[in-house]
């Protein structure tokens, strides 16, 4: 048994609120296997994004611990990259695409040529060659999200965390971006954790789907997605197991009991 990429141990999160302390997460425990694609799903407001903020070091848990490759998390760890839903606000509008991608590279000691190479290979990976000099706001929504994925890849992360990354793009672009992140995961062997409200998307992309449920939220189910790789938007989604997995997760997210077997 190798060390998990991320180990979440009995994590609790409480917020002070006008009505007293609000318990959001209650004893979340889960290990993210190295190289896996894991989706976190659950009803709206259950605390998915809260958990994601804890994983990225943007917030500290009230209780329990999170370890990244055996080291306790304090602040945002090196080798972790984040893609947020709101690309229009997470990309700097005053910087060109290439300067946006170069931004996280400044804290790494790279030669000029290495930096150039990182920028170009990241852009090529997401299919945006030749857009270096554009400003993000000159690109379509899908292309902007590709830029933020390229920016995440530029630091050569071992862990990629995404918060509803495809929620603000149209359906066709969404399929393209889903296949893009699968390719990225394969090319770089990146452990990927994604928060999504889209169950189909979770099933399509993941090795494992974690369902959060309840107030405060607990892990109500971990569903292993045994669909074969590589996945295809047509074949995978038509697989009868896909439908079964989707139904099972849907019931968990809605808090329904699975129908009893006759």
């Amino acid at each position: 048994m190798t060390t998990p990429a991320i180990s979440i141990r009995d994590v609790r999160m409480d917020y002070p609120s006008p009505e007293g302390v609000k318990h959001v997460l209650d004893g979340i425990s889960y290990d993210v296997t190295d190289g896996h694609f894991v989706s976190i799903v659950g009803p709206s407001g259950v605390g998915k994004t809260t958990l994601l903020r804890l994983l990225t070091g943007l917030a500290q848990p009230t209780g329990g611990s999170i370890e990244v490759r055996g080291e306790k998390l304090s602040g945002s760890p090196k080798g972790l990259a984040v893609v947020l839903q709101d690309y229009t606000r997470s990309l700097m509008p005053w910087l060109t695409v290439e300067k946006n991608i170069a931004l996280p590279l400044r804290s790494e000691k790279l030669s000029r040529a290495e930096r150039r190479d990182r920028i170009e290979s990241s852009l090529a990976e997401v299919g945006l060659e030749g857009n270096q000099k554009s400003y993000p706001w000159q690109l379509s929504g899908g292309m902007q999200q590709r830029v933020s994925i390229a920016r995440a890849l530029a630091v050569r992360p071992s862990i990629l965390v995404m918060d509803e990354p495809f929620a603000s793009v149209d359906a066709q672009t969404r399929f393209d971006l889903e296949d893009l992140v699968l390719k990225v995961r394969d090319d770089f062997h990146i452990t990927t954790i994604m928060v999504t409200h889209d169950i189909d998307e979770a099933v399509y992309l993941s090795d494992e789907v974690v369902v959060l449920y309840g107030k405060p939220a607990k892990v109500s189910e971990v569903v292993s997605i045994d669909l074969p790789f590589p996945r295809s938007q047509v074949a995978t989604r038509n697989d009868h197991r896909f439908a079964a997995l989707r139904t099972r997760i849907y019931e968990k997210v809605r808090g329904l009991e699975a129908p009893t077997q006759p």
Binding site: T56, G57, L58, G75, S76, K78, L80, A81, V82, L84, D86, R89, S90, M92, P93, W94, L95, L103, P104, R106, S107, Y135, W137, Q138
Partner: protein, 260 residues
Amino acid sequence: MIARRIWRWLLAILVAGWLPVILITWWWKSSATSDNPFFPPLELIWEQFKLNWVFTNVSIHLVPSLENLFTGFAIAVVVGIGLGALIGTSAEAARYVEPIVDFFRSIPPVALVPVFILLLGLDSGMRIASISFAAAFPILISTIEGVRQTNAVLLDTAKVFRFSPARLLWQVRLPNAMPVVFGGLQVGLQIAFIVTVASEYLGSGFGLGAFTLTATDTFNILDAWTGVVLLGLLGYALSLVFDLVERISLGWYYGQKKLA
């Protein structure tokens, strides 16, 4: 392509220029036969203007004014943006400093000139101090506001990049604040211009303010008019240059707005 561009420029000049042309023509014609000593014919003002400012008095009166203006404004920019960044970033600093800032900025800028004379005497140091003090406030206020407005997503992004506080300020908060800061810079420049002239009204033999005031005091009405005309032209030129600098520095902001 280029022809169309030139055509657009010409059109813009025409649209912006027709009213000034009419007004100046009207002034020229209606004052031509004026024998009112306070409203001399524009033609005479123009003759005197050429005599005074092409380029006889430039080094005595125009250059010192511009020197004071630019030095004072530059200090105001550095102090205003520097302090503003500090106060805007730290809620703690804001609590301590903001009441004082609010008090001082409520004083009409020109009213402080006599105080500065008392404290600093009558040299150009006093003038520069008055100019920078007055012009710093709008820049300070807008920088505080702009830096404070940084959205949470940008801050999160910078945090994941493990930016130091200095980098966060320099590469995220300040550039993001620039559209707001420029609003303050514009007001600051106008105030700097006003205080430049006002500070020369007292105890100075040099500068455009001194020149115009002396001319008025000695009933040298033509000279006074040329001073006023030059001040007007100067103010206009300043705002044109400012707009140009803003357009270039905030190209990303205007480009984005155009698409939205």
